[in-house]
Each structure stands twice: as structure tokens, then as C-alpha cells.
């Protein structure tokens, strides 16, 4: 067991010294962090920095080189987690040759989720008008929402969402972030990756990654005040550049920010 400092609740996600090697590269390099239950956490960083690899490690589909990952008190990938962790892959992973309804009913059966939850999640992602449409004939953003809806089925206690709002219009993005906040308020822990820096302000906590490391573990306000910028885009660029200059990744530690 790893010694933990006294915290009010057990973390929903507890990662210690995680290293993942993909090809010849350390895609995730000695990463440690904890997420408190019911927090909405953004995972931001440039393309190729290891966001997807980290998320795959959390949901237990990635071979990891070393380190430990505990989700909801269980080691990542353990069978007990399979109906309590929802995962949205970066590319929509749904069946293009089935209708929206057929896709969701199938995944609901696999998860043991109720029939009602199919309609509930479709309403959540604003897809009710497309229930009977063939997924392969939907637009990119609509298909991404079918994939997201699948992860919301049942009652996941942890959601790992890899760029769930990519390709969506501002209105839809706003409504989905509203949904994420409501889910967090109801006690679900969410880790959401994004490359759109504006989305940083909608999170309660930010993990900023660069080259497989956590460059900064902060809050939206913390990021702005630390860099003196007034928008997230330039704050992040400033942070990346300072990290590059110092040659190593400064990290504000493993502090835990409550909901």
C-alpha cells in the first residue's frame, strides 16, 4: 500500500509514478496525481503529449510500463470497475452500420443499464431527433455525441472523456459542459481532455501536460494568475514556453482541489 496523507475522502483517481512506453517513446513519464470524487478536471496539452495514452491507462486498455493506478479504490482495469467507469475514445467508437437507438440499446445491454437510460442519455446529448438514424450517415459532431451518450449509460461514477466536444458548435459545447458540471455536482468524477484552451475555464481543476509529464496541476484562476495572462490560450503558451526554457517540468505538486 502507498502511504496517503489524510484526506477527507478517498480519491476517485489515484495515479502514482505512472510510466507508459509506446514504441520507443515514453508517452507518459512518471506521472502522479489524485482526483477528488465529484470534481470536473480538464486534461490539457499539445497534440502528442500523452493525453490519450494516460486516459487509456486509466480505463485499463493500455499496457503500462510501471506505476500504480487506483480508480474508486480498485486497480485500473479490474473487473469491478467495468460498469462504473465510462470511457469515450477520441475517435467515435460506435457502429456506423447500426441506428443510434440500436447502438445504445446494445451497449446498454452489455452494461446492464435500463432501457430508460437510453432515452435519458440521448436527451442529454441532444440527439433525440436522430434516434432512428443510421450512425454512419450522421455528421461528425453527431457521431461524436452518440459515442459520448454511450459512456453516460448506466450510472458511471467516473467518466474519462477524450476530447468529447471536438468539432461541436459553441452552443452545443456550452450545453455539454453544463451537463458535465451537473454530473460532477451529483458526485461523478470527470476527466475531460481538450485542446481548446477556452474549455479550461469550465473545469474546476486543470492538469496541463507536455511531453508525457504533468507540467502543472492547477485551477483556472491559478493558471491565469501564475502566468499573468488574461486568456487561457496565452496563459498556456506562456506556461509551455517557461517549461521549455527551464528544460524540466515544474509542477505545483500533487495538491488536491476539492469540488
Amino acid at each position: 500500500m502507498i502511504d496517503r496523507p489524510a484526506v477527507p475522502t478517498d480519491p476517485a483517481v489515484h495515479v502514482e509514478h505512472l510510466t507508459v512506453v509506446r514504441g520507443r517513446k515514453r508517452a507518459v513519464d512518471d506521472v502522479s496525481f489524485r482526483l477528488a470524487p465529484g470534481t470536473l478536471v480538464g486534461l490539457l496539452g499539445p497534440s502528442g503529449c500523452g493525453k490519450t495514452t494516460l486516459m487509456r491507462s486509466l480505463v485499463g486498455t493500455q499496457v503500462v510500463a510501471s506505476g500504480t493506478i487506483e480508480l474508486l479504490g480498485e486497480p485500473a482495469g479490474s473487473p469491478a470497475l467495468r460498469d462504473s467507469v465510462g470511457y469515450v475514445t477520441q475517435a467515435p467508437s460506435v457502429y456506423g452500420d447500426l441506428t443510434v437507438q440500436e447502438n445504445l440499446s446494445y451497449f446498454a445491454t452489455i452494461l446492464g443499464a435500463s432501457r430508460d437510460s437510453v432515452m435519458r442519455v440521448l436527451a442529454d446529448v441532444d440527439l433525440l431527433p436522430h434516434v432512428g438514424s443510421m450512425v454512419g450517415r450522421l455528421s461528425g459532431g453527431e457521431r461524436a455525441r452518440v459515442s459520448l451518450a454511450t459512456a453516460l449509460l448506466g450510472s458511471p461514477r467516473l467518466l474519462v472523456l477524450d476530447e468529447p466536444t471536438v468539432g461541436l458548435d459553441p452552443l452545443l459545447r456550452r450545453s455539454l459542459w453544463g451537463l458535465f458540471r451537473r454530473l460532477a455536482a451529483a458526485g461523478t468524477t470527470l476527466l475531460v481532455s481538450s485542446h481548446v484552451m477556452d474549455e479550461a475555464e469550465r473545469c474546476q481543476r486543470l492538469l496541463l501536460m507536455r511531453e508525457g509529464r504533468i507540467l502543472s496541476d492547477t485551477t483556472p484562476d491559478g493558471l491565469l494568475s501564475a502566468t499573468g495572462g488574461d486568456d487561457f490560450e496565452s496563459a498556456f503558451v506562456a506556461l509551455l514556453e517557461s517549461g521549455l526554457r527551464e528544460g524540466s517540468a515544474p509542477s505545483s505538486g500533487e495538491g488536491e482541489v476539492g469540488p
Binding site: R22, V59, G60, T61, Q62, V63, G77, P79, R82, D83, V85, Y87, T89, A91, P92, S93, V94, Y95, G96, D97, L98, E102, Y106, F107, T109, I110, L111, G112, M134, T150
Partner: protein, 244 residues
Amino acid sequence: MSWRRTRATAGRVLRQLRHDPRTVALLVAVPAVLMGLLAWILRGRDHEFDTFGPQLLGIFPLIVMFLVTSVATLRERTSGTLERLLTMPMGKAEFVLGYGIAFGSAAIVQALVVSGLCFGPYGMTVRGDAWLVVVVAVLDALLGTALGLSVSALATTEFQAVQFMPAFILPQLLLCGIIVQRSGLPGVLHWVSYLLPMSYAVDATQQLSTHAVTAQFDLDLAVVGAFLVVSLALGATTLRRRTP
């Protein structure tokens, strides 16, 4: 093992097939036309269709189902749906069995239609029971599905998956006794042919063309069944929840 998830998976695969009527049509039409072609080629030759017909009746479905299954599971891998399913409470055996049941039912329809044509309009006759030829054809198609499931784990691209057909199936076709009787094969090859499932599938139909029921036929059928079970199990064990 949950029957609910197995059945849901089989139903889902069948629903995908239903949305793709052209594939279903090809699945049945290709072997039907090929058998018709064979009947036509061998027309007027004394009983040659009765000799070759039953043998090929088992082999065409095997090849078609092998291809369809390996492409379908590869698609499941590359689209990310397999990764998603394996993060859910989906058992590997449930997944493989679901596919086996879905494509197996397609194979039954295929075998029934094609043998119906052979024994009807194409005029094929056998010494043994005609329905046993259908049983062998269904079993062969199932074997094709199972082999497709187990080798698709080795393929990472569509190009590779399609190459597995010539790599895994054609050598068996050369050694199974259709081209040269297996007893006439060079020593090492004769020995190798005992290790290949298609040898038993073809021998079973040869038994039916020339005899009424034989013990050899029962043994052949049992061996094909054993290969079927082993390759389904192999298909389940080669599924990986974690990938590099």
C-alpha cells in the same frame, strides 16, 4: 459467462448484416453461382460433379465465412468499438461466441440454400445421406468463422487480414485431398495434412459421396468439431484488453 451479453452481441452482428443486404446477397449468391459453374463445367462427365460437388460444397462456405469474419472483427478493432466493449463488463468468450452464433446462423442459411441448389437443379447425388452433406457444409462454414476469429487477432490492417486467406486457407486447399488424394502426397506433406482441419472436412464429404454411413465419417466430423471449439477458444484468448 453471460448468455444475455452473448445473445445481445449475436443480435447486434445480425442487425449489422441486415442493414447491409448486399453482403447478405453475396454471402449466399457467391457459393451458389460457383457451385452452378462447377456443375456446368463437369456436365456430361460421368459422375464427376457427384465427386467434386460435395467436397467444394464444404469448402466455399469455409472460405467465404473466414474472410467475412476476419474483416468484421478487424473492423471492430480499428473502429475502437472492441476497445470500448472490453472496458465494459463484456467477457472475451461472450464476444467470440456472439460472433460465432451470428455468423454461424448466416452460415446455416448459406449452406441450406447452396445444398438445396446442388441436390435440386444442379443434380448432385451422393451415396450417403444428403442431409449429412448439409451438416458438413454448416460445420465447415462455422469452422471458417472460428478460424477467421482466431487469426484476425494477428492482423493489424485490412490488407493483412485479406492476405490471411491465401496464407491460411490455400495451403489447406492444396493438401486436403481435392487436387491429389492425400495418400498420394509426398511423405512429409501427407503427415502435415493430418494437422489441417480442411483435410477432415473434405474427407467427410468424400465418405458421403462413396459410401453410406461409415465410422470414418463420424471421426472426421468429430475432428472438425474439435478444430471448431479449439479455434473459438483461441479466438477468445487472443483478444487483449490491454494493448501497447
